[in-house]
Amino acid sequence: MASGVKPRVKVPKTAEAGEAITIKTLISHKMESGQRKDGDGKLIPRSIINRFTAEFNGENVIDVALEPAISTNPYFQFDAIVPESGEFTFTWYDDDGDIYNATKKISVA
């Protein structure tokens, strides 16, 4: 399911050096669990995002392995340390091989 997938990320624009900031991410995805049946009683095949990572200037912040029990439109909130100005890269890995990206710049005053 490559259509209609839209990542949304909330990162503060500025921070103090070494400050802990809170990041919220959301991506629109139906996260088909593989448990549901369609009108004819056939199982709808699983189609989920199976991995999410957040990096800052190439250094890992969090790496999440997702299972079908994660809700539709997977949401994550976590804290990161910002040592210097730079860019956050968020990556979502779909079951079908698609990779979705979002980046956010942050400047350290």
Partner: protein, 138 residues
């Protein structure tokens, strides 16, 4: 605390369901936990899991985990068809060992967090969530 007849019936129905239903699923989770910990088992305490006591919609239940000193946290839902929910691995720039997400719960059950600590030991925390409408379709 005194029960009305209706409350008593509701409570006894719940407890008999949990007596019948949970052990089979709980062992699935126990298997998953012992596979994760290498048979060492996990000690309760040290970490916390925040989930609503009653979730009206099992399709999206907010869960927050807080495990100071953990390198990784794995979430299980012991009443789901497959107990694994997610695994969080914290990197060098992670500020705190906390994370929030939203999960699916098929029925009233325990949500279990198992954290791997920096010294290689494992700690766990449980939260019971009552689910009004299950979230696994079917």
């Amino acid at each position: 605390m005194s029960y009305t007849r209706r409350q008593f019936l509701a409570a006894s129905t719940f407890s008999s369901i949990s007596l019948l239903g949970v052990p089979a699923f709980a062992s699935l989770t126990d298997d998953a936990i012992s596979a994760l910990t290498g048979g060492a088992g996990a000690v309760e305490g040290g970490i916390s899991i925040t989930a609503p006591e009653i979730a009206e919609n099992g399709n999206t239940v907010p869960v927050e985990i807080d495990a100071p000193g953990a390198v990784a946290i794995t979430l299980f839902a012991d009443g789901n068809p497959t107990p694994s929910v997610a695994t969080f691995k914290f990197g060098a720039l992670s500020a705190s060992r906390t994370a929030s997400t939203r999960i699916r719960l098929s029925t009233t059950q325990n949500v279990v967090a198992v954290a791997e600590m920096e010294d290689g030991s494992f700690q766990m925390a449980k939260a019971n969530v009552k689910v009004t409408i299950g979230g696994c379709g079917g």
